[in-house]
């Protein structure tokens, strides 16, 4: 009886969902939506500014949101509060790893196999290039594909390379923790400044500049660099937790 009632309920609910999604005003059929009246299309066309002229790379100024990469505009400007939540999720996961594996971490895991000479010396040489690539990706998030999250992941991979290539190497994990707290605090402070001066949290209060320049797009590059630092230091902390053990 109970199963039968449940089946009936599910059937009715399913029928209602199908009917409500089928070709009415709110959900038109596939391909028939009038996207030009939707908000997202307006943002992509940037015609919500007062002067909906052409966007010319390297010349156009005073845009709705400055970056040349529309994904960055969505992630770090329109939905920046959501990104703050994502960074918090990453922070909670790194906290979980630290709670499970942490403790008085004193020294590296003792392995009975060692990296060979070429790896040990070569990783020291490649480390600079890899780290610089990560920094470049984090800084240029508003101009090129990429941004804070991939840049932070690249920074953490360079640390992982050093951990794998040297048995004695241990990063200054205290510095990483300080960097992480600094980046998170600065992110929230920028948001609060926007709230005080502009009226809502994380408002883009700086000048947007010329599209395509390095110094443009208001607070977006600053926020993205902070995200990159935070992600990089958190993932480095996770790596450190996995590769160390308690001891004297």
């Amino acid at each position: 009886m109970k199963n039968f009632l449940a089946f009936i309920t599910v059937l009715v609910l399913g029928y209602m969902i199908v009917v409500s999604l089928d070709n009415n005003e709110a959900f038109p059929a596939y391909g028939e939506a009038d996207v030009s009246s939707r908000v997202s299309q307006a943002f992509i066309d940037r015609s919500v500014t007062e002067d909906p002229g052409d966007i010319i790379f390297g010349q156009a100024t005073n845009l709705e949101s400055g970056p040349a990469n529309i994904v960055t505009a969505i992630v770090a400007d329109y939905r920046s509060f959501d990104t703050l939540g994502e960074v918090t999720v990453l922070f909670v996961s790194s906290l979980g790893v630290a709670l499970l594996l942490g403790g008085k971490k004193q020294k590296r895991l003792e392995l009975n196999f060692h990296p060979n000479f070429m790896l040990r010396v070569g990783s020291r040489a490649l480390f600079g290039i890899i780290l610089m690539t990560g920094v470049y990706i984090a800084i240029h998030g508003h101009l090129t594909p990429g941004g804070g999250f991939p840049g932070g992941a690249m920074i953490a991979s360079s640390m992982l390379l050093l951990y794998l290539a040297d048995d004695e190497f241990r990063a200054k994990i205290k510095g990483f923790k300080m960097l992480e707290s600094f980046a998170g605090t600065a992110y929230v402070l920028i948001g609060l400044t926007g709230l005080l001066l502009g009226g809502y949290f994380l408002e883009n209060l700086l000048d947007n500049g010329v599209i395509g320049d390095l110094f443009s797009a208001g607070i977006i590059p600053i926020v993205y660099v902070l995200i990159g630092l935070k992600v990089g230091s958190e993932i480095s902390g996770i790596i450190d937790n996995f590769l160390t053990e308690e001891g004297v």
Binding site: F117, M118, G122, R124, A125, M132, F215
Partner: protein
């Protein structure tokens, strides 16, 4: 000097990625300077006053030899791979050869060169011994193997990394 070398490597790689503009140069210099102070002791870039001469020797003496050996090694690989009966071209084994080069980076460059030259693959370095896997062992003694494999690189690299 270590700081200068680290700064140069970081700055050059940033500029190669970002291109040359005034803003990029400015930001690249600032970022490279900060990173140099933090990680100068974790990397092994070094430089000295004879660096330009060494760079010239590296470019005009080492690189042509390297590229030529790389092409030769690829032709050798092609001959082995494209022949119908592979087994008769193979006489594989691990040999040990000596090197006179000093310094970690010199040994690394030598090992990489050996890996990319005909029929050899360096596996590990211990002190002054390089352990190499070869497709076809020609020499009987370590000295002959050394003549066959690494002598021509050592001559050039000895000048570059003094």
């Amino acid at each position: 000097m270590k700081y200068v070398a680290t700064f140069l490597v970081l700055f050059v790689s940033y500029i190669a990625l970002a291109g040359i503009h005034v803003q990029e140069l400015l930001l690249g210099a600032i970022v490279s300077a900060i990173l140099t102070v933090i990680l100068a002791k974790h990397v092994n870039y070094t430089i000295d006053y004879r660096f330009p001469v060494k760079l010239l020797v590296f470019i005009f003496a080492y690189l042509p030899l390297f590229v030529w050996q790389l092409v030769l090694s690829n032709l050798a690989v092609a001959r082995i791979v494209l022949s119908p009966r592979i087994k008769k071209h193979l006489n594989p084994g691990f040999v040990k050869i000596n090197t006179d080069l000093k310094g970690d980076f010199a040994k690394l460059t030598l090992a990489n060169s050996i890996t990319l030259t005909p029929g050899t693959l360096s596996v590990d370095i211990d002190g002054n011994d390089i352990y190499i896997h070869t497709v076809y062992i020609k020499g009987k003694t370590p000295e002959e193997n050394r003549q066959n494999i690494s002598a021509k690189f050592e001559k050039v690299l000895g000048v570059v990394f003094k």
